[in-house]
């Protein structure tokens, strides 16, 4: 993928994440902070599908943005064909792993496994 395409995705995910995290914070402000972290409240959030989709989207957006940012930092730290390939594929793998782990929590909750 061209670097400009990657950076467009990088900027796009940042803007979208800011918007969605703002909505997420507003939703959390409907109750006090301690209550919003109650076990039952968290489960209820995950079971409310529109909200769960939004949390999943935030996870995906921040994972893409964050791991591309890490890739950029690591590329500037050291250069070399093998190193750069390892960094790119490593960040991609870590990104998918994080998304899979986060999604697993939401899916397990909705399947009644928690």
């Amino acid at each position: 993928m061209r670097e400009s395409t990657i950076m467009k995705i990088h900027y796009g995910t940042a803007l979208a994440a800011v918007a969605l995290v703002a909505v997420h914070i507003l939703m959390r402000m409907t109750m006090n902070f301690a209550d919003s972290l109650e076990y039952e409240t968290v489960l209820a959030n995950y079971k409310f599908i529109p909200y769960a989709i939004m949390l999943e989207l935030i996870l995906v957006l921040l994972s893409i943005h964050g791991f591309n940012g890490l890739r950029v930092i690591l590329l500037e730290l050291k250069q070399g064909r093998t190193y750069e390939k390892a960094v790119s594929y490593g960040c991609l793998a870590a990104m998918f792993a994080l998304i899979a782990y986060g999604s697993r929590t939401i899916i397990m909750t909705n399947m009644g496994m928690v």
Binding site: R2, E3, S4, I6, M7, K8, Y11, V72, L75, E76, L77, Q79, E84
Partner: protein, 249 residues
């Protein structure tokens, strides 16, 4: 009146300490500084003090220079911590009794103050620093490529680049990323992309659209701060990004 003028000239003459970084990569393991006392007038440039040292005190000081009028871009060096042209920097404007000169950062050192320009010239050459089009104004029946003042205004400041390398020396990304294209080449890429006579925009943008290309600029702006010709590479890079993000065509 002549006597009064002589007295005034003598009063303006001062002695300053010139600290020169000495380093020969074939002999030394690290850089060392040598101090010299040099006479300076209010119009004396740093290059003149270095040449004074070479002439009267130590002829082995390694320095590159040529035009002495900020045109050739040969005498770039770090003067009192900032990348500057030695021929374009007066000792009096430094406002210091000690003038420290070092080789430019982010360049391999040949000896003392002289650095290798290969990387600068390679990246400059890489972005195709010429008008890229199939036809030519040299054809017998063709007219010259006309350009309006407004079209000229789009790039003219970037045409003032003298390839002195001061911007690359000041760039923080150049310090860590050995493959980064650098502000000099990127500013020149913009200079030709913005030229209405040029037809090679797409190929030029493709060259700089790589993992160590234009996107590694963090807009520190130090390149624009140090340019002795008033070029603003940081702005050129941002304008170039505009083309790549689709804000400019």
């Amino acid at each position: 009146m002549a006597q009064v003028s002589d007295v005034a000239d003598n009063q303006s003459s001062q002695t300053k300490t010139l600290r020169i970084a000495r380093y020969n990569p074939e002999k030394n393991s690290e850089k060392q500084f040598m101090e010299f006392s040099v006479p300076v007038e209010k119009w004396t440039t740093v290059l003149e003090t270095i040449l004074n040292v070479k002439q009267h005190q130590d002829h082995s000081v390694g320095v590159r220079y040529s035009c002495r009028q900020a045109t050739c871009g040969s005498c770039g060096m770090i003067i009192n911590g900032k990348p500057r042209l030695a021929c374009f920097t007066k000792v009096s404007e430094l406002d210091s009794d000690v003038v420290t000169v070092e080789p430019m950062n982010n360049f391999p050192i040949i000896r003392d103050l002289a650095v290798k320009f290969e990387r600068l010239f390679d990246t400059h050459h890489k972005i195709k620093p010429y008008l890229d089009r199939d036809d030519t104004e040299l054809e017998s029946d063709a007219k010259e490529f006309l350009q309006s003042p407004e079209e000229l205004e789009q790039y003219i400041q970037f045409a003032n680049c003298i390839k002195c390398g001061l911007c690359n020396s000041a760039c923080p990304t150049m310090a860590t990323d050995s493959s980064f294209v650098g502000p000099q080449a990127l500013a020149q890429a913009y200079r030709y992309v913005a030229d209405s006579r040029d037809k090679g925009k797409d190929s030029r943008l493709k060259i700089i659209d790589e993992s160590h290309g234009i996107w590694r600029c963090h807009f520190a702006g130090s390149c624009s701060q140090v340019c002795p010709k008033g070029v603003d590479p940081a702005m050129g890079i941002q304008l170039l990004r505009g083309y790549m993000l689709g804000f400019r065509s």
